[in-house]
C-alpha cells in the first residue's frame, strides 16, 4: 500500500511551487520530505494533508478522519496543561473520564513527558511541546501523522530522542510523514526520503 502522487503541480498566488511531482509514499513507514527553505516541502505536505485543494495532477487521498496534520509553529493553546491537551485527543472516543485519564497517562509515558504533564503548555520547551503533539495525535488513534518541521528549534540531543520515539510509533503500525531540513538526522532514521529542490523531486 502506498500514497501515490502523479504529475502534481501546485500554484499558490500565481507562483508555481511544485512542478510535476510524481512520488510514492509507502504506508506504515517513516518518510521524510527534505529540502532547503522554499523548496516546496510544506506545500507538498499540505497537499497530502488535504489542506490545499487547488492543484493539478493526481493524489490518492487520505481520508480526513484518518490523519492528523501538525503544521509548523502551532500557536500554543492558552491555559491548557500538557496532559489536558493529550486527553483532548480522546475527544471523539466514548471512553469514561477515568479511562481517558488512564490512556492519556500511558501515552504521556510513551512520549517521555511525564515530568511536565501538569505544567502549562505555554511554559514547556519546544521539544516537549512536539512530544505533547505526538501524544495528542496518538490519542486520536489515526493512522497518518503529518508533521511540518517539528524540530526546527530543538537541540541535537533532544532531536535524537524524538526520532527514536517516532521510529517506535512507526513500528506500531502508523505512517509518519515529516518535513525537515536536517539532512544528517533524516538519513539515519527515515525509511524513505523525498528530496525537493525548487519544487522538483531530485
Amino acid at each position: 500500500m502506498t500514497i501515490t502522487i502523479k504529475n502534481l503541480t501546485v500554484e499558490l498566488e500565481d507562483i508555481k511551487i511544485l512542478h510535476n511531482i510524481s512520488i510514492q509514499i509507502p504506508i506504515k513507514s517513516f518518510t521524510c520530505i527534505l529540502g532547503e527553505n522554499g523548496a516546496g516541502k510544506s506545500t507538498l505536505l499540505r497537499v497530502i494533508a488535504n489542506d490545499i485543494s487547488d492543484y493539478s495532477g493526481f493524489i490518492s487521498r487520505i481520508k480526513e478522519t484518518d490523519l492528523v496534520y501538525l503544521p509548523q509553529n502551532i500557536e500554543s493553546p492558552p491555559f491548557l496543561t500538557a496532559s489536558e491537551i493529550v486527553s483532548l485527543g480522546f475527544y471523539n472516543s466514548k471512553f469514561t473520564k477515568q479511562k481517558v485519564t488512564h490512556l492519556s497517562n500511558e501515552l504521556i509515558e510513551t512520549c517521555g513527558i511525564s515530568k511536565i504533564k501538569n505544567q502549562l503548555f505555554e511554559n514547556i520547551s519546544s521539544g516537549e511541546k512536539q512530544r505533547v503533539w505526538i501524544a495528542f495525535a496518538l490519542a486520536q488513534s489515526k493512522d497518518f501523522i503529518l508533521m511540518d518541521e517539528p524540530l526546527s528549534s530543538v537541540d541535537t540531543d533532544s532531536r535524537k530522542g524524538f526520532y527514536e520515539l517516532l521510529k517506535g510509533i512507526v513500528e506500531s503500525g502508523k505512517t509518519i510523514i515529516l518535513v525537515s531540513h536536517h539532512i544528517e538526522d533524516v538519513t539515519i532514521y527515515a525509511d524513505n526520503i523525498i528530496r525537493l529542490e525548487k519544487g522538483c523531486v531530485v
Partner: protein, 323 residues
C-alpha cells in the same frame, strides 16, 4: 479546596450581599418594620420599598452580572484569548445606540420591543466583530484592537444621537455608566428567561469550547468546526449584552474579570468556567451596585463606575502576573 465548597462560599457571599441590599438604604426604617415589609405583614411603606424597589434591583443586578460573566467567558473561550469583554468591545454599545435613539426621540416603542431592539442591535455588532476577527491567525492583540475600535465607534454613534436629541443627563449617565435604579419586575423576568436560555446553550457547547482551545487547524482534526462554534458563541454574547444593556446600561470590566477569577478558583474545565464565571459576574455586579447605592447615599454612583473601580485594578494585577 473542593469545588462544591467553593461554590457554597460564593453562594454565601451573594446571600450576604442580598441581605445588605434588602435591609440597608437611605430610607429610615426599623428592623421590625423592614421584616414586616419583607414578610408582607402590613401595608407599611417598607413593603413597597422592599418588594418593588430593592428586591427587583438586587435580582436585576445579579442577573445582569450573570449575563456579563457568561458573555465574557464565551468571548474568551471562543477566541482563545484572555481578553474579551462584551462592553469594552462595543457589543453592548450596539444596544446602547438603540437605547440612545429611543432617548433621542427617533422612535417611541414599548419596553418589550425596546428589549428586542437592544438584543438585535448588539447581536449585529457581535456578528460584525466576529466577521472582522475570523482570520486564520487570530491573535490577542488583533482581537483587542478590533474590539476597542468597535467600542469607540459605537460610543461615538450613541453620543452623536444623544447630543442630537434633548436627553436628561441622568438618563445619559445611566446608559453610558450603568444604573439599576429603575429596575422593575418586568425587567427581572426578561433577564431571567434570556439568561437561562443562553446559559443552557452554553453548557451544551462546553465540551466544544474545550476543543477549540487547540487552535483552528487541530480543532478540525477532532471533527469540530471552530468557525461555526465561534459564530454561535458570539451570537449568544450579542443576546446577553443586549439584554444586560437594556436592564443596566453599559457596565464594563465584569465580563473581562469574571473569567479570570473563575479560572484561578476553578481551573480549566469549561463547564466549571461557564458556571462559575456567571456566578462571579453576578457577585461582582451585585457588590458594585451596593457600593454604588450606599457609598454616597442618598445620592448614587453609576454602577459602571463601581465595577471599573473594582475591575480595573484587578485587571492590572492579573496583567502583571501574566508573562
Amino acid at each position: 479546596m473542593q469545588i462544591s465548597v467553593q461554590y457554597f462560599i460564593l453562594g454565601l457571599i451573594i446571600f450576604g450581599l442580598v441581605l445588605v441590599g434588602i435591609f440597608t438604604g437611605p430610607s429610615d426604617f426599623s428592623i421590625k418594620e423592614m421584616f414586616d415589609g419583607l414578610l408582607r405583614k402590613n401595608d407599611h411603606i417598607s413593603q413597597v420599598i422592599i418588594w418593588d424597589m430593592r428586591i427587583p434591583r438586587i435580582l436585576a443586578s445579579i442577573i445582569v452580572g450573570n449575563c456579563l460573566g457568561l458573555a465574557g467567558v464565551l468571548i474568551q473561550l471562543s477566541t482563545r484569548s484572555s481578553l474579551g469583554d462584551p462592553n469594552l468591545f462595543g457589543i453592548g454599545g450596539g444596544a446602547a445606540i438603540f437605547i440612545a435613539a429611543g432617548f433621542g426621540g427617533l422612535f417611541v416603542i414599548s419596553s418589550f420591543f425596546s428589549l428586542i431592539g437592544c438584543i438585535i442591535s448588539s447581536t449585529l455588532v457581535a456578528l460584525g466583530l466576529s466577521m472582522l476577527i475570523s482570520t486564520p491567525n487570530l491573535s490577542a492583540t488583533k482581537l483587542a484592537l478590533m474590539g476597542i475600535a468597535v467600542a469607540a465607534l459605537t460610543i461615538s454613534i450613541g453620543t452623536a444621537i444623544i447630543s442630537h436629541g434633548r436627553v436628561f443627563p441622568s438618563q445619559i449617565i445611566g446608559l453610558v455608566s450603568g444604573s439599576f435604579s429603575s429596575s422593575n419586575w418586568e425587567n427581572v423576568f426578561y433577564l431571567l428567561i434570556i439568561f437561562c436560555i443562553c446559559f443552557a446553550i452554553s453548557i451544551c457547547l462546553a465540551r466544544k469550547f474545550f476543543a477549540i482551545m487547540l487552535g483552528d487547524i487541530l480543532t478540525k482534526s477532532l471533527g469540530v468546526n471552530p468557525i461555526k462554534i465561534r459564530l454561535f458563541a458570539m451570537t449568544i454574547v450579542g443576546v446577553l449584552s443586549g439584554v444586560s444593556v437594556f436592564s443596566g446600561g453599559i457596565i464594563g470590566f465584569v465580563g473581562l474579570v469574571s473569567p479570570h477569577i473563575s479560572r484561578r478558583l476553578f481551573g480549566n474545565s469549561t463547564i466549571n468556567l461557564i458556571i462559575s464565571s456567571s456566578i462571579i459576574g453576578g457577585l461582582i455586579t451585585l457588590f458594585a451596585d451596593q457600593l454604588a447605592r450606599l457609598l454616597f447615599a442618598p445620592s448614587e454612583l453609576p454602577v459602571g463606575l463601581a465595577t471599573t473601580i473594582l475591575g480595573a485594578p484587578t485587571m492590572m494585577y492579573l496583567a502583571l502576573k501574566v508573562k
